[in-house]
């Protein structure tokens, strides 16, 4: 067993630097690496590019980095929940690349699986296709999209073991698996870190080979963005 554990979030974030590109898992506030985001804020790393489906809300998730103007460029599919984001984007303070959600996921998946580029029909005939190679397959037009390149992938899982194997819970899985192994270094924070041998190998979603560092997060707020319930 190759042990991937690090003591804490500080050790897990060794080597991060200004100007780097980070991938961050999560959909809305669901399944985001909360402890790592807090550490990025604490370290005040500057001028970073973030690849993440969303940009958090004003006072949680990546919104915390936005508020401190740490993000130079954001690559996302949907950013509608964040007023400060919209302000920085429209004023030109921050660069934004909007990517169709399936293309975003596949550009991560391609990066981790050694596929430099792929063709997708998503965005053909729209501004997303501008400047991109197009090609017809089976009578349908496609555009070429490239794999992402990132310095770090930051992901969050439900359970993990010392070997870096990961299990996700519910829809908190989202972008996290596709980002594992997509960046040069993948750091996973988990709610529960267990010794090797305690996870049933049949239940592992992401094998430890895709993870370089793993630690148990100190605490999880798991904020709900839209609480919707029905009466009993």
């Amino acid at each position: 067993m190759i042990n991937k554990t690090v003591a804490n979030v500080r050790e897990a974030c060794e080597g991060i630097d200004d100007g780097m590109t980070f991938m961050l898992g999560g959909f809305g506030l669901c399944g985001i690496p909360e402890n790592i985001i807090n550490e990025l804020v604490r370290r005040n790393v500057q001028g970073v590019t973030c690849i993440s489906n969303n940009a958090g809300v004003d006072d949680f998730g990546l919104g915390l980095l936005l508020k401190k103007h740490q993000i130079k460029k954001m690559i996302s599919s949907y950013v509608g929940e964040n007023a400060e984001f919209e302000r920085q984007m429209l004023s030109g303070e921050m660069e934004v690349e909007l990517v169709p959600q399936g293309t975003l996921a596949q550009r991560c998946e391609a990066a981790r699986t050694g596929i430099p580029a792929f063709f997708t029909p998503a965005g053909y005939g729209t501004e997303v296709a501008e400047g991109k190679e197009t090609r017809e397959f089976n009578g349908k037009m496609h555009i070429m999209e490239r794999a992402f390149e990132a310095d770090f992938s930051f992901v969050k899982a439900w359970k993990g073991d010392e070997a870096g194997n990961l299990i996700f819970k519910g829809t908190a899985r989202n972008f996290n698996p596709a980002m594992c192994g997509a960046g040069k270094i993948t750091v996973a924070e988990v709610e529960e870190l267990v010794p090797a041998g305690e996870l049933d190998p049949n239940h592992v979603h992401i094998p430890g080979i895709f993870v370089q560092r793993i630690f148990q997060g100190e605490k999880y707020e798991k904020r709900i963005e839209q609480l919707t319930v029905r009466k009993k």
Binding site: F27, G28, L29, C30, G31, N53, S76, S77, Y78, V79, G80, E81, E86, M89, L90, V96, L98, P100, Q101, G102, T103, L104, A105, Q106, C108, E109, T120, P121, A122, G123, Y124, G125, T126, E127, V128, W158, F168, K169, G170, T171, A172, R173, N174, F175, N176, P177, A178, H205, K222, R223, I224, E225, Q226, L227, T228, V229, R230, K231, K232
Partner: protein, 217 residues
């Protein structure tokens, strides 16, 4: 004229037994409330669930279980979870039978615009571009006109496009229409709405053939 719930109710009639269905945010989400309970349908939410159920009971909400609108939901028996790459693999691979989504504008050749108003609103396309580019069967739920009374069913879209030549059917507050051969074809009228009213509210070419029946629910 239909309200939002009635639009959803009419669209629900298009949902057939054995369908996997992706519902967009807004009116499309309401469709789930009106699907007949004697047929088997599974709802997909592109953030990673098949077999999405209703909102949880108070106090039973799980922050790790949400839909693409970030609302807390439940998982029905037979549900499954998966990652975003697999989710859009399902969509791109045309395994989802029906996509229902909203629109700001639709053109008579089936182009759709629903993600950006230059200089005013830029929230992003989310999964909409992937959905409209790949789905075989797309129904748009929308208001026929904007707040100023201007038609949203146009010869050509004025807003940045989400997808080209992809919309097959539209259910608006006034009518059910099919998009075929570069024209809107009127199929049904909302109760109490005349063909003339629908024609007036439609900037694009509208084909009216024979008697147009009122919608039934």
């Amino acid at each position: 004229m239909l309200d939002k719930n009635q639009i959803a109710q009419r669209i629900a009639k298009e949902v057939k037994d054995g369908y996997y269905v992706n519902l967009g945010i807004g009116i499309p989400t309401l469709v789930a409330n009106f699907v007949r309970d004697d047929i088997s349908v599974e709802f997909q939410s592109e953030n990673g669930i098949l077999g999405m159920g209703p909102f949880p009971y108070e106090g039973e909400e799980d922050p790790d279980l949400i839909n693409a609108g970030k609302q807390t939901i439940t998982a029905l028996p037979g549900a499954s979870f998966f990652d975003s790459a697999m989710s859009f693999g399902m969509i791109r691979g045309q395994h989802v039978d029906l996509t229902i989504l909203g629109a700001m504008e639709v053109s008579q050749n089936g182009d759709i615009a629903n993600w950006k108003i230059p200089g005013k609103m830029v929230k992003g396309m989310g999964g909409a571009m992937d959905l409209v580019a790949s789905a075989e069967n797309i129904i748009v739920a929308m208001m026929h006109t904007n707040r100023a009374g201007e038609s949203k069913l146009l010869k050509e879209c004025t807003l940045p496009l989400t997808g080209v030549a992809c919309v097959k059917k539209i259910v608006s507050n006034l009518a059910v229409m099919e998009v075929r051969d570069g024209k809107f074809h009127l199929l049904e009228r909302a109760p109490g709405v005349s063909v003339e009213e629908i024609q007036q509210a439609t900037e694009g070419d509208l084909v009216v053939e024979g008697d147009i029946p009122e919608m039934k629910f």
